[in-house]
């Protein structure tokens, strides 16, 4: 199994989805990872049993482009990541507006703010 995780910028996500769709890939998953001061998203695609994965670093408070215009099914992941990690998506084709998972805690997965190293 391919274990390579290519790193890309968050602004490239919609372009990546277009490229993948044109290449005939199906979407496998989007995974969120808690990091200090940012969230790390892992996008995986599959074609003929070969999986390719991309890692994206999203600083807190950043709004990123949705891939639902290309992969409509991604709404389950994007809403999940929105509810659990607090990442905002633009142009979503099916936005639950924070009501996908109704929980007692708000964005329980969001990591700690980055420590400001410059401050004394």
């Amino acid at each position: 199994m391919n274990q390579e995780f290519k790193e890309i910028e968050y602004s490239e996500i919609p372009a990546l989805a277009k490229r993948m769709l044109a290449g005939g890939y199906r979407m496998v998953q989007i995974c969120g990872v808690t990091k200090e001061g940012e969230n790390e998203l892992v996008y995986s695609f599959d074609k003929d049993h070969e999986m390719v994965s991309y890692k994206v670093h999203v600083p807190f408070g950043t709004t990123i482009g949705s891939i639902t215009p290309e992969y409509w099914a991604a709404f389950v992941y994007e809403n999940e990541i929105h509810d659990l990690f607090g990442v905002e998506f633009t142009d979503s084709k099916l936005d639950y507006k924070g009501n996908f998972f109704r929980m007692s805690v708000k964005t329980p997965w969001k990591g700690a703010e980055k420590k400001d190293e410059g401050a004394a």
Binding site: M103, S104, P108
Partner: protein, 145 residues
């Protein structure tokens, strides 16, 4: 009310169980364990149910569903918490979206431990619940007099 203790109808609700206990509850109904020989029938309608079987721990989302189901059942009624999650939260007790056992929301009469609870112990729990049901029936009769 003697017939209810002889053939209690069961309502099953999955609070936030992992399915392990749910399929064991269903397995009780099928040929190997066959609770129907005791007159026990699984119903989907709370208004016809005497015993409420709950699997899994409760969370904020289904808290009201559980309460509503309980309120819709006619008196006397018995609640059986099936599986360790329904009893105390079990392996998920530390999860952020778990409130705890079923007894945090509605009164529980019988606790059935196990992960997953075995069909034998579920049947045993229901039979224990029958005794509670009879007790409750008698109390209701007393009150009427």
């Amino acid at each position: 009310m003697a017939y209810t203790t002889k053939s209690p109808w069961i309502l099953h609700y999955d609070a936030s169980s992992c399915n392990g206990c749910d399929i064991e509850v269903l397995a009780c109904l099928t040929p190997l364990y066959d609770v129907e020989r005791f007159g026990i029938i699984n119903t989907g309608d709370p208004k016809q149910a005497d015993i409420l079987l709950i699997t899994g721990a409760v969370n904020d989302q289904n808290k009201n569903v559980v309460k509503q189901l309980y309120e819709q059942m006619p008196d006397p009624k018995v609640v059986v918490a099936v599986g360790i999650c329904a009893c105390s939260g079990g392996v998920f007790r530390d999860c952020y979206n778990i409130l705890g056992g079923v007894d945090t929301v509605i009164p529980v009469d019988v606790y059935v431990p196990g992960c997953a609870a075995r069909p034998e112990s579920i049947i045993d729990g229901v039979v224990k619940g029958l005794a509670v049901l009879e007790e409750k029936t008698n109390k209701m009769k007393e009150a009427k007099r």
